[in-house]
Amino acid sequence: MHLDAGTLAAYGDGELSEPAAGRAARHLKTCPRCAREAERIRGERELSLAADALFRLQCVPPADGLERVRGCIQEWLRSATGAGGAMPASSAAELRRRIGAQLELYFGSETAALLEKVAPSRRPPDNPIAAVEPLLTAFLGRKAASAAIRRILEEGEGRPSLAPDAA
């Protein structure tokens, strides 16, 4: 039984798990055909990266990109925190309401209150998201939890939610 091209590519890129990489290495020692394939794939990878080098050289972002990003961030901070520099209490309360609604759907109506009571030393006080993220991740999986948190944050900002499963 021979190793397929995908496995050989993953082995060459160091992307196989330890046991799988061990098995592949042992097979390559004993199978000349697969060893030749692995060598060929290594050559192909170098060729494709060489083909890419010119593209990388020519395709660069604008030089003022970082300044533009920082400008956007400043603008967002100004609109989020208001003229006085202090966080409007309504925004904080709105964030907690959205978090509570999500927790109620998946776990139940008592969850938000329980999270407040649980040892405060277990969570950093500044981050309500940080308090719920482990719970959502544990019971919904990383992808679904990520989507739920993204919805909590972005819908409140008035930014269009990305579809589907956007980070």
């Binding site: 993953a10 192909e44 083909a51 010119l54 395709c59 972002p61 956007c72 202090a86 579809a163």
Partner: protein, 192 residues
């Protein structure tokens, strides 16, 4: 630089720390994100807008206390989703040939580089399907297979198979063009 903001009810963490993180991340990843955006959208402006928006969303999420396991993969995923959404939504696509989208706006390449770019565009990138192109781009930007799988919503095994196919196509195209060059050299009469 922003000053520390008092946080009523402890909602937002210090904006300073997050902004420093953004600067670091930008320096490490902006070029790769931009190249990826250009490959997806075939449009420099759309790519740059998506990169900018991705960093802003990163700031918003981190500022509210969100932790990302792999910030790099997260940013690529957001750029992808932003561009795919806008491609679906737009009625007139300002799509250009990949070689024109690559060109630096601030400096015209020399004629030889331009020729080689156009040649490469025709030879290699025309062979690859959009999925293969995207997967290759992400790998070239240093993402691991698992990260590529998360960004493109694939299995990690499929990533390996796609990359192997890309490399094989490039090799076959290279061999074909070498054979053509040898043929031209041998068979066609030289100019007097």
């Amino acid at each position: 630089m922003t000053e520390n903001r008092p946080s009523p009810e402890g909602t937002y963490r210090c904006a300073d720390t997050t902004e420093l993180e953004i600067v670091q991340l930008y320096r490490e990843n902006a070029a790769g994100l931009f190249r990826y955006g250009v490959v997806l959208a075939r449009n420099r402006e759309a790519a740059q807008d998506a990169v900018q928006e991705a960093f802003l969303r990163y700031f918003i999420a981190r500022n509210a206390g969100r932790n990302m396991e792999s910030p790099k993969a997260w940013l690529f995923q957001v750029v992808r989703n932003l561009l795919l959404d806008s491609l679906k939504a737009s009625t007139t696509r300002k799509e250009v040939g990949l070689e024109a989208a690559w060109s630096r706006a601030d400096a015209r390449p020399d004629p030889e580089s331009e020729y080689r770019l156009a040649e490469m565009s025709r030879r290699y990138w025309g062979l690859l399907s959009p999925r293969e192109l995207e997967c290759f781009r992400l790998r070239a930007e240093g993402l691991r297979y698992q990260e590529i799988a998360e960004v493109m919503v694939l299995r990690a095994g499929t990533v390996g198979a796609l990359l192997a196919r890309v490399q094989r196509k490039i090799r076959e195209e290279n061999e074909a063009s070498q054979r053509a060059a040898v043929f031209v050299e041998r068979e066609l009469p030289h100019a007097p």
